[in-house]
């Protein structure tokens, strides 16, 4: 019998946590800011998610897509208004106003867009943030939110419709 030759795969190293953190942190802060509207809360949400990843990096670092794990943790944690408020309070207490914010001031029109996003119901807000900020497919949004693809599709559809009305633009 002839030996079967398979296409070799290039091996993927376990990325050092530090490199992963430095690369992905700004992306996660962007998601956090879009969801919470608060810079300290966004940074704190991102840090908490990275800390969770760090604690199990031996396992999470081997995932095909560890950033998806961090993203899901962030999105889940941002759901609770209580947690967001707590995050912000903790951030303020810890830093005493001395931490340099990661998010710089933005254009008023952009700020208005994100304010409109934050005015959406929770699931719609999450779906639209993942769609626009992370450019995720509906199936990936569904996976992140832990819901069915059709449910994610419905959230995204309603979110876009509501946003268009709020902003006075064509859907």
């Amino acid at each position: 019998m002839d030996a079967e030759v398979t296409e070799p795969v290039v091996v993927r190293p376990v990325e050092p946590f530090e490199a992963f953190y430095r690369r992905e942190f700004p992306r996660m802060v962007a998601i956090g800011f879009a969801l919470s509207g608060s810079r300290p809360a966004a940074e704190d949400l991102a840090q908490d998610a990275f800390i969770a990843a760090h604690q199990s990096w031996d396992r999470i670092g081997r995932y095909e897509n560890p950033q998806a794990w961090v993203r899901r943790v962030m999105v889940n944690r941002s759901v609770s208004a209580y947690r967001s408020r707590l995050s912000e309070a903790r951030a303020i207490l810890r830093l005493g106003g001395q931490r340099q914010s990661v998010v710089e001031p933005m254009d008023p029109e952009d700020a208005a867009f994100w304010a409109a996003v934050r005015g959406l119901p929770t699931r719609q807000r999450q779906a639209v943030v993942l769609h626009y900020v992370e450019d995720l497919a509906v199936s990936e949004i569904a996976e992140t939110l832990g819901c069915a693809v059709n449910t994610a599709k419905a959230h995204l559809h309603k979110a876009r419709k509501n946003l268009a009305v709020k902003l006075g633009v064509t859907p």
Binding site: T6, E7, P8, V9, V10, V11, R12, P13, V14, E15, P16, F17, E18, A19, Y21, R22, F25, P26, R27, V29, A30, F33, A34, E43, Q47, F50, I51, A52, H54, Q55, S56, D58, R59, R62, V73, N76, V79, S80, A81, Y82, R83, L93, R94, R99, Q100, S101, V102, V103, E104, M106, E109, D110, F113, Y132, V133, L163, A164, V169, T170, P171
Partner: protein
């Protein structure tokens, strides 16, 4: 303007604002500073561990949450050099200053066109690995860097290098590149096979972990994950909700469980068991929403 155009603009603005700022130190709360720091650092690597201890000694008293118990310390120090690949810049060769500690012998840096030697001492070509994580080792020129894609190997002062890689089932090619200070490069590759042993499947380690432990959402939920025998069933059960899932080929499993009827602020036990009868138990508490 359409919604998508408006959104693209807003996303660009957001990403620009975020990208322009530095990545801060990650802090975490801890109750036993040095012990937890060391444990966390070991997971991230030996180099990080040194930084952890060094930084914790300096920063531990600096941050306090006001309780007098927990303090915070950095996971990644802003003083740490990022481990990113560097592309040799030929134009910098002739202008690079000679380090002051170098003996005053004629410098050959500018005319060095010899690629660094690069050898892979382990594994040998055709090696069959029974685990998906393998440590590659070899030798190169002292002072040279060795990398696979964007990932750098650890190179010691004798030129011995090592890098741990994750293999996929089947044949895998690891392509290493060595680069010396003059920008000369050499490459070497080795093909190895990852063949999961059938004998260890029956004894694949079972592990279960929870994510939250409490939840203030409606319905309250927790996420459970871990490792186990591929194909085996993992069942999560409690008086207020449960579910089951199958362990993936990778040996990992994940399950989100909702506890819609869980009483507020009452802690109950959640049992996790796999089809081989191995068990774990956790506590969960539903909190008042909002």
């Amino acid at each position: 303007m359409t919604l998508d155009e408006r959104a693209r603009r807003a996303v660009d603005g957001l990403k620009q604002a975020v990208a322009a700022a530095p990545v801060p130190v990650v802090r975490r709360e801890r109750k036993t500073p040095l012990r937890s720091l060391a444990a966390g650092a070991l997971a991230a690597g030996a180099v990080l561990a040194v930084l952890f201890v060094a930084r914790s000694q300096v920063l531990a008293p600096e941050y306090s949450d006001g309780t007098g118990v927990a303090t915070t310390a950095p996971i990644v120090s802003t003083t740490t050099a990022a481990v990113f690949p560097t592309t040799p810049n030929p134009s910098s060769v002739s202008t690079a200053p000679v380090p002051t500690t170098v003996a005053p012998t004629p410098s050959t840096t500018a005319s060095d066109v010899t690629p660094p030697p690069l050898a892979i001492s382990f594994p040998e070509a055709g090696y069959v690995s029974e685990t998906n994580v393998l440590r590659f080792e070899g030798t190169t020129e002292v002072g040279a860097t060795v990398s696979v894609g964007p990932y750098r190997a650890d190179v010691d002062r004798t030129g011995h290098w090592s890098l741990t890689l994750v293999l996929r089932p089947g044949n895998n090619i690891a392509r290493f590149q060595a680069a010396d200070a003059a920008g000369n490069t050499a490459t070497a590759a080795v093909m190895v096979e990852f063949r999961a042993p059938t004998t260890t499947i029956a004894t694949a380690e079972f592990a279960a972990r929870f994510t939250w432990g409490e939840c203030s959402l409606v319905p309250p939920y927790d996420e459970y994950h871990g490792t186990g025998q591929p194909g085996s069933k993992v069942t999560v059960s409690s008086p207020f909700g449960g579910g089951s899932t199958t362990v993936k080929e990778s040996g990992e499993w994940y399950l989100k469980v909702e506890f819609p009827e869980a009483p507020i602020n009452e802690t109950f036990v959640v049992d996790v068991v796999d089809s081989l009868g191995r068990r774990a138990a956790f506590e969960f508490t539903a909190r008042s929403p909002g």
